[in-house]
Amino acid sequence: MEGDVHTHSRASWDGPPPLPVERLRVERCDSPTPGLVEGTEPGAGQQAAMFVHSRSMEDLMAEEEESRGGPQPVAEGDAGSSETTSESSETSETSETSEKGLQAAKERSSLAEGRTKEEDIYSEGWRSHRKHVFVLSEAGKPIYSRYGTEEALSSTMGVMMALVSVVEADKNIIRSIHADGYNMVFLSKSPLVLVAVSRTCQSDKELIRELQYIYYQIVSLLTLTQLNHIFQRKQNYDLRRLLAGSEHLIDSLLGRLDRDPGLLLSAVTCLPLPSSIRDAVSAALQAAKAQSLVFSILLAGERLVTLVRKKDQFLHHMDLHLVFNLVCSSSSSFRDGEGWTPICLPKFNTAGFFHAHISYLEPASELCLILVSTDREDFFSLSDCKQRFLERLRKRNTYQALNEAVKTPSYSVDQVGIPELRHFLYKSKSSGLYTSPEIPERYRSEEEQERLMGLYQELHSRLHHSTRPLLSIYRCGETENLMAWLTSGFELYLCLTPLGTKVQAVSAVNKLLKWIRREEDRLFILSPLTY
């Protein structure tokens, strides 16, 4: 089959050169405080990285294009300081199209459509959603809308396409429009155009990143080759035909982007597990291999237990998140029996399908095994791999220990022993893994959880601002104090009680880093395996 993925490595897949293991060990032992250099921070793997966490060629090129293509953003507010106050400085981006133009266009479109039919999209409820996402084809045909039916929105999407084309006619690229408290961000990925309309405080860069996720989700269902092929043959093809039944994957991915810190941090979290058990599970997975197998992934809910990969093949965290999304949002389909589905891992290769064997270890279990193969005929040999894996787990009593770990709740922030600390996110850059305690009681309601994520998102976009990146932020608020710190080894976000001081916050960081170092073999995967 021409679309099949072949496992040739591409330059951009290679992770950074692995640090010599001896050096890592030495530094680990010698340094009393965690290393700030990539590869020595708590949670850094001892061998080569598990994921491609460096940006792929595509990302780098896209960024270059951006800086060449678009107008230079005008930054206001306090630049250059490493600490900012809670005042949000407005960073406005000049855009090609003026506010007026858009509003006029909007008015025209609403006049043309008339307000009688499908009033839902004109309702206050529809307008007041925090973030809208639209996907359309380059012919202006609606493909997906987060809220409301695509049919009702066809003229709105027509206007969006018109905006894109008008700017394109001047050999320019529309990036964003800021009006009336809304951010409209455009991502043109031929043959698709993606638009986000948001009232959140996320930066354009963050919104673009989220749109990229949606784009890759669609590519993951169809492959880019097929997508291009379809639109080359028929420009006004209605892509909804092919995506039928999969809209919920995009819906759930958008939900995940709002509440899963992993997507924000470009990292994956692990099931806390004693390293001896994790190693035993990894070894069992490593032993159960097949010729065509590229990745074996064991998940516990939305947390990673272990990942074994073919030598020299790396899985991008984005691809892994797409796999998570597929498995977790269609949980019941794979519960009994074994799933066998084509899946494109777009960061690995946009041209072809892998074939994934997806099954739960037991129907009632949270443990889900995903075996990614290059051969679509290989179902039965992968099914056999699963059996061998399970037998080995059972034989050595690892299975029971693993099941117990799945059942015990993650860890609470109290275990860290820092009274001022309410919650934190810690990402080890070199391993691409992050850890975070359970959400404390006061943030557990849906709105509070989203608010907390919103705060982290804001900190994240400030640390990673394209023109004024910051290294650390301390921010006092009414309901909580926040702290963020970016080093070449890790990224750390703290949510602290509002009554604390900055000195306390700094000492909390130090204590926390020591605690993570102590617990790292339980919280992270330190010795990833290959076949």
Partner: protein, 204 residues
């Protein structure tokens, strides 16, 4: 399940949301899940042993996704199948057009595959006769024309579901005596090469 031998491959085909997965759920797990519709992703495989007289026949059931997206992929699922349950929704006439498409496809590509036409959601029709869009006798005629068996089932009540798969297993059992000496027709899941599944793939 490791060394379970699968005697015959059965594939479920039909338009999306006609209830292929529900049919398999009802047959294998004796349950009907109420809740929002969830489409099948790719395909799901279940092995189910079934008694035919004194013997036990294990059906390897491939529940395929109805979505058009997987159409190009569907051949790998029905290739080598000895039985195909082609489903249509009794309350949706377009689903019967799709069923005709699958019948034609099977006739062209898998001549040894026996076809079982299965009208689903019979409970809806029983509750309200006016929702029926597919006439029983028309389908019966069509089934005779193509040499297929015809069933109307309800996964919600379980009506006729066991009968359908029982018939599939019996027909297989009969055909084994006619065609192949018993003992040679199975697929060992643990075995990698020379299996029935593979030999079929390569003969294509």
């Amino acid at each position: 399940m490791s060394a379970m031998r699968v005697d015959t491959k059965v594939v479920m085909l039909g338009k999306e949301s006609v209830g292929k997965t529900s049919l398999v759920e009802r047959y294998v797990h004796h349950r009907f899940l109420v809740g929002p519709y969830q489409n099948t992703i790719g395909a799901a495989f279940v092995a189910k042993p079934i008694h035919v007289g004194e013997k036990v026949v294990t059906l390897g059931i491939w529940d395929t996704a109805g979505s058009e997206r997987y159409e190009a992929m569907s051949r790998i699922y029905y290739r080598g199948a000895r039985a195909a349950v082609v489903c249509y929704d009794l309350t949706d006439s377009s689903s019967f057009q799709r069923a005709r498409f699958w019948v034609k496809e099977l006739q062209n590509c898998e001549e040894h595959c026996k076809i079982y036409l299965c009208g689903t959601k019979n409970d809806l029709v029983q509750a309200d006769k006016s929702v029926r869009q597919i006439d029983f006798h028309d389908t019966q005629d069509f089934a005779e024309e193509i040499g297929a068996q015809h069933f109307e089932t309800s996964s919600k009540t379980g009506n006729n579901v066991d009968e359908l798969f029982q018939k599939v297993a019996e027909d297989f059992n009969d055909s084994v005596f006619q065609l192949i000496p018993p003992g040679e027709a199975g697929v060992d899941l643990g075995q990698k090469k020379d299996s029935y599944f593979y030999s079929c793939c390569h003969n294509n």
